[in-house]
Symmetry: C2
Subunit: 201 residues, 2 copies
């Protein structure tokens, strides 16, 4: 495709690097930006640069944080004996939104994926082991809340192997038919697992 | 939704201002950016700012351009007696891609839309009239290639009224069943118009 100017070509190339955004959408976004106030574009661009350059991570759970220790880890009303292990910040936000969990978190920063070149050493698994080994922290249970994908399962398996000799209970969030879900529209694997893992009423 | 840091909240707010991007997608994009190299984010952000601050428009057709006059208007092999009127740059690119049109263009910068607060004076309609009045340019035909929407039709009607007393032929691109389109899947209005505007073989 031939662009009318170098500037727009360059902007489209940069925007199209974002995941899920193709060249057509990138061009639409670029033309939208052209119609906005200069100040708005400067605000957007500054927000992106500051996000990347100034974002800090909690020194305990590795969640994104404004301070050295995040609000959850620093919270006085949290149950400090349970750690919920998640893939990224979005999962922390989703679980916090349920208002059903009051323990701590540990953000891995991804899941093991040989295809994408992510190995165990790219994740915060070693610091997790250290948190559990640290007797002062007194962790009693680790809940694995990882995605129900091949990569998520691999990561859960790797972590449970790493932790199995430590004095800590390891659990995983329940898999089954979603609340409000019809049995006939549930895929076979989920339905099969939900029967295998049936619970006493 | 509560964000883990001010920086990410700010970035999500700014990204979510883009058309078609909600908060969930904005958060996904922000977390993606956090994993990229600092330099890549600076490149993206600079491309956006430069796009907005340095983009120029052709002084003849108002298309986006690197120079005072765009490559098409400055081209020596174009048919300078025909002007094709379009909504924006994307339409110029789409028509150029067909390799079927060799005339000039005129980019309106939008279509008349009372709902979005776009009136005739927000568009480059007056400069279009001036181009046709300018006897040196010697324009013989104006092709209206506007979207087949209420706004596009309104704009076409407004322009044709403005030009009707000038010595210039006004045409519109053909509307009908798309090439390769099945009659039974074509909507009634398009099919009805395609019968009304039938052409001699």
């Amino acid at each position: 495709m031939e662009y009318p100017s170098k500037l727009i070509e360059n902007a489209v190339e940069e925007i199209a690097k974002l995941p899920g955004i193709g060249r057509k959408t990138a061009l639409r976004l670029a033309l939208h930006l052209l119609k906005q106030e200069k100040e708005d574009i400067r605000d957007l661009s500054e927000a992106l640069v500051r996000l990347r350059e100034e974002t800090r991570y909690c020194d305990q759970c590795f969640n994104i944080s404004d301070a050295t220790t995040c609000a959850i880890c620093a919270g006085t009303k949290r149950d400090r004996s349970v750690i919920c292990v998640v893939e990224d910040t979005r999962d922390v936000m989703a679980i916090e939104n349920t208002s059903q969990y009051f323990g701590l978190y540990h953000v891995l920063g991804g899941v093991i994926s040989p295809i994408e070149g992510v190995g165990p050493s790219d994740l915060t698994i070693e610091p997790l082991v250290q948190r559990i080994l640290n007797k002062e922290e007194n962790i009693e249970e680790v809940i694995l809340a990882l995605p129900a994908t091949m990569e998520g399962d691999t990561t859960a398996f790797y972590i449970s192997k790493k932790l199995k000799d430590l004095e800590v209970k390891i659990t995983s969030i329940a898999r089954g038919v979603p609340v409000g879900g019809e049995l006939e529209y549930t895929d076979e694997i989920t339905l099969g697992r939900s029967i295998m893992n049936r619970q006493k009423l």
